[in-house]
């Protein structure tokens, strides 16, 4: 009965085309979903951060420098790195030849921050802060008094440097806010923000820079920051041999105020996956809709073919061919069509995934790839197609098998 597929070329071709289109769509959608999940998780996995202290809401971390010194002396701790984020209303502003530009700034302790970075992240930096003698690598903070020398060093993001024609070595002025006193900063490096400068993000002109923690605290127009030595989060990396649970317990005991904001790497991965779970389901669902329609199509066509072959089937049953054979024959026919369509759909599916993924990335304005065309994904898609395909072809096959012989033979028309 497989050769019946060739009997009606046009019809079979149409069903196969429909399946190809739906499978290609399904693959593209699954690829994007996978890409989103992958990106979310990859950053976390590749980093060296084992524990992240990030208090909920806008509770911040206070006495950051001291906390760094404290924790870094504990057993099993490889590194501690604080971060202060000045974005939003209280962003510092840069004055570049009269042009006022807000700059989202991140305050770090450079040496500690560098130690914490994974290789792939380090590659994003072209140039870095100069080494200093003091423990925190933050001279202005020396002795906890914000009185030490200002280094005025800053590493800027690539989009900002490109948009404003800046190069490493240039000097720019930055103030905590318009109207506040400006300070000079020298650009000591450039880093890949991962923004392309286009898309949605490009339109929002997100310019970013990194400087020393105390210098940002000083600069910031918010009075409280310097007084309380504030940071927004702290990353900790542990020895491979260290017991993460122990460490977390110790941390919660020592800093009960931040207890609800402590996350391990695993926690973060789970969070990321959960967050993307909804969008994953969404993409897969819409990708499957077209598939369902195609399979309904296949079922209809099969029903029609079976009807057309009523006499033929009646004759076969009359000469002794079993119901089972007829069932399997029809079933195989339907499944073959579906399988051919699915396999042929892999190629446009691949191109579709790449195209959709690139489109998403460029319209958001990020350098990430949203395409995740993995063997696993192909496997999942094919399984879905074959399982659903089987379901939809069972009914017509059953109809064929259960025909009454006499009626079938007598059937006209």
């Amino acid at each position: 009965m497989i050769k019946d597929i060739f009997r009606r070329k046009g019809r079979s071709a149409m069903t196969i085309i429909a399946i190809i289109a739906s499978v290609a769509l399904l693959l593209s959608m699954m690829s994007i979903a996978g890409g989103i999940r992958q990106n979310a998780v990859r950053h976390i996995e590749e980093g060296n951060v084992d524990v992240l202290i990030s208090p909920h809401g806008d509770h911040a971390i206070y006495d950051a420098h001291e906390m760094v010194r404290n924790i870094s002396e504990w057993n099993g701790v490889n590194g501690v790195s604080p971060n202060l984020y000045m974005f939003g209303t209280l962003m510092p502003v840069a004055n570049i030849s009269g042009q006022i530009v807000p700059v989202g700034c991140i305050g770090i302790l450079p040496r500690l921050s560098w130690d914490m970075m994974g290789d792939s992240d380090r590659e994003k930096y072209d140039g870095w802060f100069s080494d200093t003698e003091d423990f925190f690598d933050d001279p202005h903070y020396a002795n906890g008094a914000y009185s030490g020398p200002y280094t005025g060093e800053i590493v800027l993001g690539d989009t900002m440097m490109d948009a404003l024609n800046l190069s490493t070595g240039d000097t720019i002025k930055i103030a905590g806010a318009i109207g506040e006193p400006e300070r000079e900063f020298r650009i000591v490096g450039r880093y890949e923000t991962g923004f392309t400068g286009g898309g949605m993000i490009g339109d929002m002109k997100i310019y970013m820079g990194m400087m020393r923690l105390s210098e940002l605290q000083d600069l910031a127009a918010y009075r409280d920051l310097r007084i309380s030595d504030r940071a927004d989060s702290m990353s900790v990396s542990l020895d491979p041999m260290a017991d993460t649970k122990e460490f977390v317990k110790e941390l919660k005991d020592a800093y009960p105020d931040y207890a609800d904001g402590i996350k391990t790497k695993e926690d973060m991965i789970v969070d990321a996956q959960e967050y993307s779970a909804v969008s994953t389901a969404f993409y897969q669902a819409i990708g499957s809709v077209a598939l369902v329609i195609s399979l309904l199509f296949v079922a209809s066509v099969m029903i029609m073919s079976v009807y057309e072959r009523t006499n033929e089937i009646g004759m076969m049953r009359a000469i002794g061919i079993s119901r089972r054979t007829i069932f399997m024959g029809t079933f195989a026919e339907g499944l073959l069509l579906v399988t051919i369509g699915a396999i042929l759909g892999l190629i446009p599916g691949y191109f579709g995934s790449v195209a959709f993924g690139n489109y998403m990335a460029s319209s958001v304005g990020i350098n990430e790839s949203f395409t995740a065309f993995t063997p696993e994904m192909i496997e999942n898609a094919l399984i879905e197609v074959i399982v659903l395909g089987t379901l939809f072809t069972i009914y017509p096959s059953w109809k064929a098998a259960r025909m009454n012989i006499l009626d079938a033979l007598r059937h006209t028309g």
Binding site: H59, T89, I100, I178
Partner: protein, 416 residues
């Protein structure tokens, strides 16, 4: 030749085809309504406020939260004096995170905003659901006090005898602490609530732009500035109301030219938002197109087969004198009826699903802002879906109809 009854000849096949195509219609309806909804919502949310021009510090934009404007009041007064088109300017200091709590409770992080307005217009505040606005709403009396003008800080707590201590709080904050009009709430820089300032709650409001139930406190601008020891009259945003909204772009340009500010008209703002929406739009168009394409393949093939099955019958009709026109008309009618059924079914189900999605997105922890509707359905949308469906019906009938006219009567009757 009764095309409608022809459909009931093979009820199973008709049902399957209608089912398949209606799924495509459902997809189309849902996608279009979400796209519509997102656009309309953002537009409505912006328009509802009645703000004609949005202003932030130079170089900033409404999405990133622009930079601070210093000497905000002076600048605003200058603006309103020099440009008679303007009837009100609302000033606000936003993005200030402090801790708040009623007496004896653990503090929670809160978003505190200071407000002041110059002039009189009809910009809308958030809806008050309990109590009332601050008695001196918009007036900011403390700025006229000598304490403010001379920046005379009397105590550690940056309190001052001339403070009104008025505030309104958001619904989430009210729920968290079970606070109601008449109660007192304290704000502080630190979690332990040291050096705190007391405020009297006059009303509870709902912020339609907020999705996660953030805890907000609105108070008078000068009192907040004083508490923060921010001397230079900083303001993070200005909202302008004009006599004639159509002049918004003109006035915004004028402001940009004459002041170190970044002003955009409501229209411009909306179009920036829509630009962001367009990604989703093109996405959904691509997806719906492919789904509709598959539906199209489905129905054309079925129509084709259905007509070919009736070859002899058609030939017989031609033989007894039924014209080709009649036969073609019947085939088209059949195709269109099929699609029409799918349209009705698909649209109904699509509407149910779309509204269901909207309802689902409006509840739960990750819900959308209350002023936001995921889905928006209007006559134009239904018309679009209808037109696409009809086009599909017509297109899918073309080839079978053409084929039917070419039937050789004699051959067909002979049984070839």
């Amino acid at each position: 030749m009764n095309p409608i009854r022809n459909l009931s000849r093979r009820p199973g096949r008709t049902a399957l085809t209608v089912a398949g195509v209606s799924i495509a219609v459902i997809m189309l309806v849902v996608m279009l309504s979400i796209s519509n909804g997102m656009q309309k919502s953002s537009e409505t949310l912006v328009k509802d406020r009645g703000v004609d021009i949005f202003i932030t510090g130079e170089g900033g934009n409404m999405f990133m939260g622009g930079s601070m404007i210093y000497n905000g009041t002076a600048m605003a007064e200058d603006i309103i004096e020099k440009n008679p088109e303007i009837r009100e300017i609302g000033l606000s200091l936003e993005g200030i995170y402090l801790f708040s709590a009623p007496k004896g409770r653990n503090s929670t992080s809160s978003d505190v905003t200071g407000t002041y307005s110059i002039g009189k217009g009809d910009m809308k505040d958030y809806d008050i659901i309990e109590g009332d606005f601050m008695p001196h709403r918009g007036e900011d009396p403390f700025r006229n006090s000598t304490y403010y003008r001379e920046w005379n800080i009397t105590q550690d707590a940056f309190d001052s005898p001339d403070f009104t201590h008025e505030c309104t709080i958001s619904q989430s904050l009210s729920e968290e602490f079970d606070l109601h009009p008449g109660d007192t709430i304290y704000i502080s820089h630190s979690k332990n609530m040291s050096h705190n300032l007391s405020l009297t709650v006059y009303g509870v409001f709902v912020n339609p732009y907020d999705s996660s139930g953030s805890k907000e406190i609105d108070m008078h601008l000068s009192e907040l500035q004083f508490f923060l020891d921010m001397k230079n009259d900083p303001v993070s945003a200005m909202y302008v109301d004009l006599h004639d909204p159509s002049k918004a772009t003109e006035v915004a340009d004028w402001i940009n030219e004459n002041y170190p500010l970044s002003a955009i008209s409501q229209e411009e703002f909306i179009s920036q938002i829509n630009k962001f929406m367009r990604t989703f739009d093109s996405f959904s168009i691509m997806i719906s197109s492919i789904t509709v394409l598959v539906g199209a393949i489905f129905i054309s093939t079925i129509m084709d087969i259905a007509v070919r099955e009736r070859r002899r019958e058609i030939a017989a009709m031609r033989a007894i004198g039924i014209s080709r026109t009649t036969i073609v008309t019947d085939i088209f009618t059949e195709g269109i009826s099929l699609i029409f059924l799918a349209f009705i079914l698909g649209t109904l189900l699509g509407l149910i699903i779309a509204y269901g999605l909207d309802a689902w997105m409006s509840t739960g922890p990750r819900r959308m802002p209350s002023g936001f509707h995921l889905v928006s359905i209007d006559a134009i949308l239904i018309a679009k879906v209808f037109l696409i469906s009809m086009a599909l019906g017509i297109l899918s009938s073309v080839i079978p109809a053409r084929w039917a006219t070419k039937i050789n009567i004699s051959d067909a009757l002979r049984g070839d």
